[in-house]
């Protein structure tokens, strides 16, 4: 107990020095915890926006399918999947449902508001299959009106029966699609959904932008992918075939890499803080050499001297980590609130905000890291103190 007492008193004796060393630890802990929480919550939030589409195989035109430079965006945009290839995909998919669709964008005007909106055109029968219904009806055939995404409807105050202008033509909104969240296949919440007939009547026959295959049995995904690949890409790469799990994996790998990078930045700041503790402890040992000599001569063993000094760095570490942890938790609380607001428009309800377990996890991790780093930084000076020759230490002035 007297060693802890001495450690506390010694730290108090050099208030400024102890304060600065503690500030270093606070900054390090806050950096690790905050960056960790930010990275993780970003991942959680965006992950929440991606709706569960693990049963989806997405077939898109191969980047180099069209002639010319595959990196020329005009070629990428021009790339499409022909009706013949859709037939091949249907054959390859067997019993699984195949939904070809055209992605376009056109000018949208609602009352005084105008802008561009994404248009999804797909066979009328597939719309109820892909999209949940919120209000009104699903569009039918070529003369029927259009369906709008839930968030677009909310923003522009649209409901079944409203009239909107698409590409200068006035059309009627027949239905509102339920909120679906950001998907790997389609993102209809801010889009206009029309039937394929409706679209081709106005824009002529077109090839498809992408094909979605909904696989009823998840274990069949690999087979379906291989089969499509074999049917179409036999001679040259015509389409890219990806399943949603694969896309999610790439996405999460990217986020993980970002998290590690952020934690690394936090780690560096804590490393700097540990150098500051190392410095403080070396100064402390040097200043108290005669005291160490005295304590050794009256019967303190080496391990007791080691303990005496380790307590100092431990106290700095605990103090810095508690303050840093508290600040991080508060920062996380406000960051959570602001991120929720920022992403509220996109987030699927209930997914916004940072989970408490994530906050506790990162704060605890950062605090443990802060305390651990302090103890490690304090170890060398403490060990050095313990190894001092009592006779020489007593003579030190």
């Amino acid at each position: 107990m007297i060693f802890i007492n001495l450690a506390v008193r010694n730290l108090k004796r050099h208030k400024v020095r102890s304060f600065l060393a503690t500030v270093g630890i606070i900054i390090g802990v806050v950096a690790i915890a905050s960056l960790g929480i930010m990275g993780s919550s970003f991942s959680t939030l965006v992950g929440g926006m991606v709706s569960d589409v693990s049963d989806t195989v997405l077939v898109t035109p191969h980047r180099a399918a069209s002639s010319g430079d595959p990196f020329d965006p005009r070629n990428t945009l021009a790339a499409s999947i022909s009706t013949k290839n859709v037939g091949l995909i249907e054959r390859a998919a067997g019993e699984h449902r195949v939904v070809p669709m055209i992605l376009a964008s056109d000018r949208l005007q609602v009352r005084d508001t105008s802008g561009y909106a994404t248009i999804y055109a797909m066979p009328a029968a597939d719309i109820p299959f892909l999209l949940e219904w919120e209000a009104g009806l699903y569009p039918q055939g070529r003369s029927s009106g259009v369906m709008v995404g839930s968030l677009l409807a909310d923003e522009l105050n649209l409901h079944p029966g409203s009239r909107i202008e698409i590409g200068g033509e006035s059309v009627r909104v027949v239905g509102i699609a339920a909120e679906r969240g950001m998907g790997i296949d389609i993102n209809p919440d801010y889009a206009v959904i029309v039937t394929e007939d409706w679209y081709t009547e106005r824009h002529g026959d077109q090839d498809y932008s992408q094909v979605i295959v909904k696989v009823s049995d998840l274990s069949a995904i690999e087979d379906v992918k291989a089969s499509i690949d074999q049917q179409i890409n036999r001679r040259r790469e015509v389409v890219d075939v990806l399943d949603s799990r694969e896309i999610l994996e790439i996405y999460y790998e990217t986020l993980d890499a970002m998290n590690i990078f952020l934690l690394g930045i936090g780690g560096v700041s804590l490393l700097v803080a540990s150098v500051s503790i190392l410095n403080v402890m070396i100064i402390s040992v040097t200043e108290r050499t005669a005291e160490i000599g005295l304590v050794r001569s009256i019967g303190a063993r080496k391990r007791e001297i080691l303990r005496m000094f380790l307590y100092e760095s431990l106290i700095l570490g605990i103090l810095g980590s508690i303050i840093g942890g508290t600040i991080s938790a508060v920062v996380a609380y406000y960051a959570s609130a602001s991120i929720s607001v920022l992403f509220a428009d996109f987030a699927v309800s209930g997914e916004a905000g940072i989970p408490v377990s994530v906050v506790i996890g990162y704060v605890a991790f950062a605090m443990a890291f802060g305390i651990g780093t302090s103890v490690i930084a304090g170890f060398y000076p403490s060990w050095k103190a313990a190894q001092l020759n009592p006779i020489e230490a007593l003579r030190y002035e």
Binding site: I2, R9, G293, V295, R296, I298, I391
Partner: protein, 222 residues
């Protein structure tokens, strides 16, 4: 039985310029209850002798027995425990810990010894015995005069009831009046409490307090 016994003790410091013989075949026996002075000119080996008596150092050759324990072959922990349990140190510079109060300074060796209860009472008892008033118990060493600080240092040396006191110029930093008071205190501890006192000093006036004086010249007992 001698509290301290040196038999043909030699201490050699190997230096780049050549070996320095600090103690050369020293034979000393200090009996329980004695008050012994160790005197000699600078470089005569007084400090080396004191360090070995205090088990802060070990001889190059010869046999040293302290409190019936041979220190040859002891490791650092054994030597430390020997100091803690059997020896009371008193230094010229007092060497009190500035962060601790007077009573805490005296309590410190008891805590190092692992005593759980009654440490404060024991420290206060010894402080009273060396003439420190209760009002000073909670003061820091810097708030006391040199003479009072040395009394506190004596209390710290006595608190674990050691077999002997080892004093290194205890009055060297004090004026003559205060020095006399400290010597009277040590003399009282020796005569009334039966404490063995070994003291290194340059001051020939100290001989009047001692039972005998060991004179060292060039590492040998003269």
């Amino acid at each position: 039985m001698a509290v301290i016994s040196f038999e043909n003790v030699t201490k050699v410091y190997p230096l780049p310029a050549g070996d320095v013989v600090a103690l050369d075949g020293v034979d000393i026996a200090i009996e329980e209850g004695e008050f012994v002075l160790i005197m000699g000119p600078s470089g005569s080996g007084k400090s080396t002798l004191l360090n070995i008596m205090g088990s802060l150092d070990v001889p190059t050759s010869g046999e040293v027995t302290i409190a019936e324990k041979r220190i040859g072959g002891m490791d650092d922990d054994d030597l430390t425990l020997l100091r803690r349990d059997h020896i009371g140190f008193i230094f010229q510079q007092f060497n009190l810990i500035p962060l601790l109060s007077i009573v805490e300074n005296v309590e410190y060796p008891l805590i190092l010894k692992g005593r759980q209860n009654g440490t404060r009472e024991r420290a206060e008892e010894v402080l009273r015995a060396v003439g420190i008033e209760k009002t000073h118990f909670t003061h820091k060493p810097g708030e006391l005069s040199g003479g009072q600080q040395q009394r506190v240092a004596i209390a710290r040396a006595l608190v674990n009831d050691p077999d002997f006191l080892l004093c290194d110029e205890p009055t060297g930093n004090l004026d003559s009046k205060t020095g006399t008071a400290i010597m009277t205190l040590l003399e009282r501890m020796n005569r009334e409490e039966g404490k063995t006192v070994v003291m290194v000093t340059h001051d020939p006036r100290m001989t009047e307090y001692a039972d005998r004086t060991i004179r060292l010249v060039d590492g040998k007992v003269a």
